[in-house]
Symmetry: D2
Subunit: 284 residues, 4 copies
């Protein structure tokens, strides 16, 4: 469906990560290798944090990433310790900025690869489960935006993994009620600028690919084209829909039904299980 | 907010109506005289019926109409007996095709100038009142699209004026419940390709301007720049947010709280009164 | 580089040709099989003739064809006896409407797949060889537009094949002077709305693919998905960068260094040879 | 035609200058007071220098500045000591990024308000006078881009004011040869990131407006809405097509036929006179 990349660690020029690697995200927009779609040309977006600002910036546009000059300019001039990037392959939903990832509410960013099965049938019930105070934040028509607003409604700001687990539980509950066997297929990244979470999960247990670089040092050794990684701290992390080059050894595949936390101190890789969440009760 | 134009009658090259008049809708996109905003540069759209096709075509784009070459090309090449055109001035809502008018569902077109007051506060309740079968048709974030889907939910296809009256009643009921004194401000046009209805109404009784040409013949006499009107049938009608030239005598202002029906046989101008419609019961 | 399609014959709804075939041009924009690039997502265009109008209409846009709703709407509503369609893969040139094909001057349309080798080095000399009266028609930065204006400067309106042959001769002469061994690689279609010419040529003798349907009847028999071909006249022709489906037998490959003329009466397939043309003398 | 703004001095968040003033450039895009056109909605651009990079970044887009969310995001996150911003009103030239200002070659930025009279008639001769090594840098179709490439051809990098004077001399020479009485109308800003030059000149002696803030301190006193000016250095300068608020006293109008230099040390305001420049000899 889509391809995405999350970076956090030593402040980095976006260009080094977005354009320089051999099989960069920009290259994936044109020639994805592991995606359901080989072309991710239905829009793109980046979100990044600047020193001293709580709210991240987001740039989103509706054309392909590979030919966008403004994206290239920004990537050449913006350095950030934490940023997201996403290239979109629509499955029919409108091509518009508000359907492009990452989504932002306050200091939070959210991006997604995957789909809620038969979303058009579940959309009303899921939309109604959004906190009424957040409902008017809906600007587009994607499942991804609804998932984000649901996670926020269910406590993303307090305890992110539990909120995402409740969101998935809610989607599965609503899906099953409508006769959808496997409602959720997702790899999701979210961050508040301080910690970053990445989730790999699908109701069917056959999730889209997701990889992380546990030791950037090893990446540097294996990717001579990634020379700028020489100076990054050991705690710097990259999480990607598919590896940025031909050296799969440099990357670890995130296991099915897990999530990772990247945070000051020790990173963690933990099992992910949806939490029961009945939409009829969720907002009482 | 916006400016629009509705044409029905003798099949007409769109260019003659959209570009040729001295103060055409395209000119109004740059220099509106009677609008709340002088510039209507936040997108545009046209909808038109082709012989033998039930479903009208729609073209919508996010840039200004005045500099759009594709619109000019289409206008030079498409002839239609019934068409809508709209230029948009956003009040903050996203600039995207799915927020541009006209909206279409099946054979129906809908366009709007005005606003639901404090729509962000009423949006959730109004969205919930949309027929669940139509909910997934929501693609954008405007009040206008919600008004259309509500009107369809409330019987637009059976009895258009009553459905619009119920839609307005529902918006006013929801608005009052949220403490909004004057919830509705609208001039709306809608058509199924056979009959065309235009509504002028506001809760406050101070509606946006709306004009109609009762006798095209008189338009032709007064507008030497509208020579192509020479051959149109007497029953041809134009309804516009503001006159297409400096001759206000050629146009009749539609009175407050009225609606007009343009149809084979006799056109009608009738009073418009909202009908009570409780959203909690509307879909039972 | 690009993919294109030219149709002429029985008036046809664009949708039948652009969208309905299994491997339509729209599908080729996402998944080209025979192109140098598999993705042709850097803009698109159509040009079509309407009854009673000398000047064709053109619609061009900068996003991918595969997700463009306006193109789909136009294709559903426009019927034409002669039309061109093109999907673009840029090799670095700016993504802008004026770099999209087809190009139009007066009643002429022109579209191209291929490239002038090292165009940036030859561009000035080639631009200077354009008839000064046509120079200000340059709006973009492609080799294709320069080729068109050169062909017009060299008599396209009088004798199309000779003008194209002189244009190629001029490009080769200028190229060789700059040390470019094989300056031209092209498949070109051009029409004045009455006759249509398609050229396949490259200096190296290894031209991009080009196919034509000599007998539409055979297409219909082989392509059950092309049922609408049942009613077309025997003289209807399709010329395409690559076949519209899996039945290569339904198509004839145009030989190297040939051009075809589709015209009332008898179509012709003839050898194509560049004509000497010295830019220093061409405009004396 | 257009409106522009140049800033240089204490590193500044773009937002403070582009959005915060009462009659900011963004407001001028919708409601220009002193421009030939009241609406400047045909595209926009910014160019800015980042510490440690010779080459400035540029962001340009084809829609109006007033509704562009990406511009707002960048303005909220980018701080720069020297930046340009421009809002465009086209007079018929194509709406495309490559016609938007500022233009960039290497470390140079260039932006323009005005026009070469009858440019379509002079364009070929002027284009031929561009240094052949720079000819392939032409991407759009504006007079402004040609003026920039001519200035570069005539020594902008060595002695900017003399190069601009020769460029104007050349345009006037070519114009007069074609019977154009007053060929040039311009306010131009250009910078290499170290020094900044602004020119006000027209062949007729009736140039477009141009203002500068000689002492930012006075601006701060007069504009309570410009509080962030409190901390800027005394040498900080703003040059604008029209004042950013209702206090014309805070601004000095640049006199006819002058240019200003903003540079480390002492700024200067000097007379501007075109220098003779025959295109037939200019590149010998």
């Amino acid at each position: 469906m889509c391809r995405w990349l999350a970076y956090t660690g030593t402040p980095m020029l976006l260009d080094n990560i977005l354009y320089k690697p051999q099989h960069s995200l920009i290259d994936q927009s044109l020639h994805s290798r592991m995606g359901v779609e080989t072309t991710n040309g239905d829009g793109f977006g980046i979100g990044w944090y600047s020193p001293g600002l709580e709210t991240p910036g987001i740039i989103r546009d509706t054309g392909p990433a590979w030919n966008n000059r403004n994206l290239r300019e920004i990537a050449h001039h913006v350095t950030s310790p934490t940023f997201f990037a996403h290239v979109r392959a629509s499955t029919g939903t409108a091509i518009q900025q508000t359907n492009c990832h990452p989504f932002r509410v306050g200091r939070w960013l959210w991006m997604h690869n995957g789909a809620i099965t038969d979303f058009h049938r579940l959309r009303r019930d899921l939309s109604l489960a959004i906190d009424p105070a957040l409902f008017s934040r809906l600007e587009g028509s994607t499942d991804s935006e609804v998932m984000f607003l649901l996670a926020l409604s269910l406590g993303l700001d307090q305890e992110a993994p539990a909120a995402v687990a409740r969101m998935v539980g809610l989607v599965e509950e609503v899906g099953h009620r409508h006769g959808v066997e496997f409602p959720m297929q997702m790899t999701v990244a979210t961050t508040d600028g301080h910690r970053l979470w990445a989730f790999r999960y699908s109701s069917e247990g056959r999730s889209r690919s997701l990889f992380y670089s546990s030791r950037v040092k090893s990446l540097e050794e294996l990717h001579p084209d990634l020379w700028w990684l020489h100076d990054v701290s050991p705690s710097t992390r990259l999480i990607v829909s598919e590896p940025l080059g031909d050296l799969p050894d440099a990357w670890h595949e995130m296991p099915e039904s897990t999530y990772g936390v990247v945070q000051p101190g020790r990173d963690e890789l933990l099992p992910f299980t949806p939490l029961p969440c009945d939409p009829r009760e969720s907002l009482v």
